[in-house]
Amino acid sequence: MPSLKDLKNRIGSVKNTRKITKAMQMVAAAKLRRAQDSAEAARPYAERMNAVMGGLAASVGNSEGAPRLLAGTGSDKVHLLVVMTAERGLCGGFNSSIVRLARVRANELLLAGKTVKILTVGKKGREQLRRDLGNHFVGHVDLSEVKRIGYANAQAIAKDILARFDAGEFDVATLFYNRFQSVISQIPTAQQVIPAVFEGGAEASALYDYEPSEEAILADLLPRGVATQVFAALLENGASEQGARMSAMDNATRNAGDMINKLTIQYNRSRQAAITKELIEIISGAEAL
């Protein structure tokens, strides 16, 4: 049975924790709005880009001279997994869900006899994967100094990926990130970026004149397409992280409240018990006289 003083300290500390989690929740809510806005603002570019590239890919894709970024290297022995997580924790299952998806995929590929290389973006994913898949790491991108994710960050990551591709380090690249659904639901997603995949893009490209040639435009666009997809993934991830943190901190705040109630009841009970005990002692002392 803890003493009255212990209980009082305990209540105090839980109250402080509740204040912190409440503040974190509010900060996350503000950041979430901003992250959603930038994800929203980036959408028109990505959509147009995809539409044009989809059209081009449909008309050029099957020809002999199709760029390697589209047609692939002709094998799928070496896979690059780009695992994008947060730089900070305290955001519920956000990081673990991405890591889980990536780990399942990595193990499947390893079982199938493929080579797996892992590029981590964000510290948390790296920490979680290091133990069992650490020897597959080929690189890490640190975004902890970045306050607001810009296209330049995405370009740098894309450049890294493309340089490795040109050097023949891998055949297939897949991004792992959380797609933002709502504050309470983020969907871990695996998206293949190299070779490029387009969903239902085969339409109406024959109507356009191309200047310079279709092949030249496609060769110019594909690397940009990778950067655009990385950028979109970073933004989705950013919004998801804040959403996950917001709901995690909301839960934590509520739990802290419950705990304070429980501890307060226990505190009051023991205080009353102590008083009753003292009274009994006095009364029995008086009766004994």
Partner: protein
């Protein structure tokens, strides 16, 4: 008032402009072209240069560093890698872009060197065009 076409300028981070324009001058990879209402459907890549948009509000120019433009009879969409309104494109902003391009040119593989050096020259021409 001449017929207009819908002009959109988007960069990866945001939409910079969306207006009804009478003519749009585009720095295409193979040379400048001006799109007006009823232009044949065309997709072109951009070289670094100045994009000029004439609309009811007057002429507005943007410095763009690359990307592509999609033109059809009723609209022009420019997807620029980086686009800066000309009034914000001061000497320092352009110098940054130039320095970046020079760096790329220096690091480029021999087969890409020509392209990278062309980009540097295009940026120099753009700078001169904007009066810096």
């Amino acid at each position: 008032m001449a017929n207009t076409l819908q002009f959109d300028l988007v960069s990866p981070e945001r939409r910079l402009a969306s207006v009804a324009a009478t003519e749009v001058q585009i720095p295409g990879a193979d040379g400048d072209m001006t799109a007006m209402e009823g232009h044949a459907a065309t997709i072109t890549t951009l070289r670094p240069g100045v994009l000029r948009v004439t609309s009811a509000e007057g002429v507005k120019s943007y410095a763009v560093t690359g990307g592509f433009a999609e033109i059809n009879a009723t609209s022009v969409s420019v997807l620029a890698e980086k686009a800066v309104p000309s009034e914000e494109a001061t000497g320092t902003v352009l110098d940054d872009i130039l320095a970046e391009a020079r760096e790329l040119a220096a690091a480029a593989l021999p087969e890409d060197r020509d392209m990278a050096e062309k980009a540097v020259n295009d940026i120099l021409a753009m700078k001169a065009g904007l009066g810096h």
